[in-house]
């Protein structure tokens, strides 16, 4: 065997494990041996063939990480949910009211919320996220201070509210008054930002299933947000994730809670219509 042949053999050997190794697997997500979650779905019509299948980020993680999400005791994101449950029942602000005083049992009243948000709000005349709705309640009805966007207590509350919809399929409305916001989000999704000139689509539409340095690229779905990340050991909001992504393109980013990110959250959520809610999910 000459040198040339050896290098061909080793090149093939080196290439083999990476081929397709970063792609989604075929496992089934059942949380607490009870809640079955849809993690692969038919793409929504508006995607127009951009994805042949919408796939939850859960499929791009290894078996160990996947297992953490499958049991509430193992899932550290549930600690945030527990915190928020205590906040839910605690009176705060000048009106002396708690969330529970109006909304009662969160398991009943908040069921299905995450699946339809962000949502157009008649009264506010704009698209609102769960965190914005929570702050509306806090400032207008409780007389309490608004939480900073994606700050600890706000993220915990969003995770708690989201967790009540686990297993339900994402179904955000993109027609009617939400349409212009959705269009704006779509434009941001396909706009190349930063010195690296990358759009969301460059990675999450054209290259999901490939490696991005040492990690697997997912489709960037939001059905599991807020998500517990092992890398920073806390719950992370969708807007903070957007910010991190845009920062990685070496661009000036928008802020969490900005109009741009609200529109983008709506658009990205609509790309995942049909996927089951996993909040709080566990990711790298």
């Amino acid at each position: 065997m000459n040198f040339k042949m050896l290098s061909v053999v080793s090149a093939v050997a080196l290439a083999m494990p990476t081929l397709g190794a970063a792609g989604p697997d075929d496992d089934t997500l059942i949380i607490n041996e009870e809640i079955e979650v849809v993690t692969k779905a038919e793409p929504a019509e508006h995607l127009d063939g951009a994805l042949y299948e919408v796939i939850s980020g859960w499929h791009f993680r290894n078996d160990d990480t996947q297992a953490i999400e499958m049991d509430d005791f193992d899932n550290p994101g549930m600690l945030g949910v527990e915190n928020a449950m205590a906040t839910w029942n605690t009176a705060e602000g000048s009106a002396g009211k708690s969330c529970a005083d109006c909304h009662g049992d969160a398991a009943e009243s908040m069921k299905g919320v995450k699946a339809t948000y962000p949502k157009y709000d008649e009264k506010a005349g704009t698209v609102m996220t769960v965190q914005m709705k929570v702050n509306e309640c806090r400032t207008e009805r409780m007389g309490a201070e608004a939480w900073k966007y994606d700050a600890g207590p706000a993220i915990d509350m969003e995770a708690m509210i989201g967790s009540q919809s686990r297993g339900m399929q994402m179904n955000v409305a993109i027609d009617g008054p939400a349409k212009p916001f959705w269009e704006k989000g779509k434009e941001i999704y396909y706009t190349r930002y930063g010195q690296l000139e990358l759009s969301c689509a460059s990675c999450h539409e054209q290259n999901y299933g490939n490696m991005i340095r040492a990690d697997h690229l997912s489709q960037g779905q939001t059905n599991g947000f807020p998500t517990y990340r092992l890398k920073n050991a806390k719950l992370n909001g969708a807007h903070s994730r957007f910010k991190g992504c845009i920062r990685d393109t070496r661009a000036e980013t928008f802020s969490p809670g900005s109009d741009e990110f609200i529109a983008l959250e709506l658009y990205v959520a609509s790309r995942g219509n049909g996927l089951g809610v996993e909040t709080p999910s566990v990711r790298n």
């Binding site: 005791f73 193992d74 550290p76 600690l79 050991a233």
Partner: protein, 108 residues
Amino acid sequence: MASGVKPRVKAPKTASAGEVVTIKTLISHKMESGQRRDSDGNLIPRSIINRFTCDFNGTNALDVEMHGAISTNPYFEFDVTIPESGDLQFTWYDDDGSVYEDVKSVKV
């Protein structure tokens, strides 16, 4: 003094004699490593859970010593043989001297 510390244990309520059961424990704790600095550049003092033990009816089943590199909210999963009915006693020792305890009864 670490705040928001809450021990959690998941153990079966019943077992057959001599059965090996799986116990899961988690304690919410910041586990401040002592290596980090605050915004003024001052070292944040170490504050971690440094020891965790599990006893069954007074007999030690597990004794763990922890150091600075253990991540936040330490989680332990381990197996214990249950010879008879009794109590599983879990104890966490904090750097600041606090002791957190939990007890789970298992019936044979």
